[in-house]
């Protein structure tokens, strides 16, 4: 089975010399629900632009279902449906016209295109507006129009660049349901987002991009597993004995600070019991909170450039192991 998307060593330097992508590798399996997560200006839209041939790449390889965009561009394009970040339809055309024309560019006959337009406009709750010109739609409707447009040729992979930007919570949820349904039907879905909740709710695999570099490329489960762990910082009394914890991943930061990872399945009482037995006196305890958001900030906000905070290194794929024990 081919991967839906395979990117190797992709680089982009824009005119004027700005290096937006510094050599990224990315693999998305067929049938996957994949998130590309990153802050503003990370290079998400640039990556998507290159995949959909709206941006010329500087170096690297991109293949869609095994078809290299340098060698079989048109074939590669025919697999993809794109929902871009910014509205890019003719504001003066009616919804139906926009959809039917778009289908035509992919070789879908008008009659069939009209049937599909009806189907998707109804599913996306835009059927009443079908004859309005697109500029009369609200922001959320425009976004749904672009989703309908991307589906007109029944693509195998749907790429959405921040589909829920500017969309209210209720609509966001119904959009999620819609995307889940599509994914169940076998369509590979790749979306970019700033919303961590969104990636967490929807996606099976994830890549985190920052400054044109992929800082993390893993499955959602192991990413969340790392988050299943809560880290506590214990301030120990000066001059006490050296602490040693079995069954916990702990790090002695200095002679009076201990960091302990506690899984949701473990009890913090255990930590205290052991420490008490060893005669280690805990003066105070802080929670080093460790939600995805934290991770994200850590990974992207200068995390790549040598953050001394060793406790939360996620550039390797390991989840903290119990055996790792003391040091």
């Amino acid at each position: 089975m081919n991967n839906a998307l395979e990117i190797v060593g992709l680089k982009k330097t824009y005119k004027g010399g700005f290096e937006a992508l510094k050599g990224i590798d990315l693999t998305v399996k067929q049938g996957d629900f994949f998130a590309l997560l990153g802050p503003n200006g990370a290079g998400k839209s640039t990556t998507i632009g290159i995949i959909t041939s709206l941006v010329n790449k500087t170096a690297g390889k991109v293949a869609v279902f095994g078809h290299d965009i340098d060698e079989e561009l048109e074939l590669a394009k025919s697999f993809i449906g794109l929902v871009p970040q910014e509205f890019n339809f003719n504001q003066f055309e009616s919804l139906i016209t926009i959809l039917v024309n778009q289908a035509g560019y992919y070789g879908v006959e008008r009659k069939l295109a009209h049937q599909r337009a009806e189907k998707y406009l109804k599913q996306l709750d835009l059927w009443d507006k079908r004859n309005n010109s697109a500029r009369m739609l609200s922001g959320g409707m425009k976004r749904r129009l672009m989703i309908a447009r991307a589906l007109m040729h029944e693509p195998d992979v749907l790429i959405l660049d921040e589909p829920t930007a500017g969309v209210d919570i209720e609509l966001r949820r119904s959009m999620w349901d819609f995307l889940r349904k599509l994914n169940k039907q076998g369509i590979t879905i790749i979306l970019t987002t700033h919303y961590l909740e969104e990636a967490e709710m929807l996606c099976r695999n994830i890549a985190i991009i920052d400054n044109g570099i992929i800082v993390k490329h893993t499955d959602m489960k192991s990413l969340l597993a790392t988050l299943d762990v809560e880290t506590f910082i214990l301030d120990l009394a000066m001059g006490g004995p050296k602490a040693s914890l079995s069954g916990f991943c702990a790090r002695q930061i200095d002679d009076h600070t201990l960091e302990v990872d506690v899984r949701k399945s473990q009890s913090i009482n255990q930590v205290f019991t052991q420490l008490t037995d060893q005669g280690v006196f805990v003066q105070s305890m802080r929670n080093k909170s460790n939600r995805l958001e934290e991770l994200f900030v850590h990974l992207t906000g200068g995390g790549a450039s040598g953050n001394s905070d060793s406790g939360n290194t996620v550039s390797d794929n390991k989840t903290p192991s119990l055996a790792q024990g003391d040091n």
Binding site: L54, V55, N56, L73, L82, N88, G104, G107
Partner: protein, 257 residues
């Protein structure tokens, strides 16, 4: 992609293009009709009567082919220039760029749309001119081939203009400073043979001279230049402009960053 996919894509672009200028017909089809009527009233009825004959025809009959050609040129050009530029501006050109549409289909679709408007306006103008003169036809084939080829040349020109354009001003500069002067000096209103020899030579560098004369030949059977040369020149223009347009779109000039 298969031939049928390309055929449907081409049809879609053509349909979209025709739909666009039909939807705004007040801006696209009515103005040339008004302009041409004014020309007929002023040059034909009022001034033409004093000019007398040109190459053995009364002035009105002499200028009709040139006037039709003038509308064909302007409309083919501006249709593609404004449509393609506004597609760039609103970014809906991306709808085509992400789809598996070969570049030649995009060029053919837009040029086809421009030609359709040029020829349709030509037809409207011809019908209006019937109110003012009796139109005679010397060779219908020459008329049809000339009008098609000429509209293709200027549709391609409009496309290239739009590819380079960064603002709406950029698509009115070429028509104002190049197209209009060339048309007025292209033998619409006079026979080149009236000019001093030097200016006759200069006029031969003006492609519009060949188009107007070939077209006039189709109606009146007279021409300042040989038909073979005229079609040769038009042919060279089509091939070169098509090549330029294809190269620009393939490189993504003004389209891809």
């Amino acid at each position: 992609m298969s031939a049928s996919v390309n055929r449907i894509a081409l049809k879609s672009i053509l349909y979209k293009e025709v739909h666009r200028f039909m939807r705004i017909w007040v801006q696209t089809l009515v103005p040339p009709a008004i302009t041409i009527s004014l020309y007929f009233v002023i040059f034909g009825t009022l001034i033409g009567a004093r000019i007398g004959q040109m190459d053995g025809f009364d002035y009105m009959s002499y200028i009709v082919p040139g006037l039709i050609m003038m509308s064909v040129i302007t409309n083919s050009y501006s249709n593609v220039a404004s449509s393609f530029f506004s597609a760039k501006w609103q970014r809906n050109v991306e709808e085509m760029l992400v789809a598996p549409v070969p570049n030649w289909v995009i060029v053919a679709g837009y040029v086809g749309g421009g030609m359709t408007r040029g020829i349709l306006v030509g037809l409207i103008v011809t019908l209006i001119s019937l109110f003012f003169v009796d139109i005679q036809i010397h060779n219908i084939w020459v008329i049809m081939i000339t009008v098609c080829l000429t509209s293709a040349v200027f549709a391609l020109g409009g496309l290239i203009n739009a590819i380079f354009a960064n603002s709406f001003d950029d698509i009115s500069i070429i028509p104002t400073f190049i197209l209009t002067p060339l048309t007025y000096l292209g033998g619409v209103f006079y026979s080149i043979s009236l000019l001093p020899e030097f200016w006759q030579g200069v006029s031969q560098l003006n492609p519009i001279v060949y188009m107007v004369n070939a077209f006039r030949y189709g109606f009146l059977g007279i021409s300042d230049v040989s038909l073979t040369v005229a079609f040769g020149v038009i042919g060279i223009f089509i091939v070169s402009l098509f090549t330029i347009a294809m190269t620009l779109i393939t490189k993504g000039i003004g389209l891809r960053s």
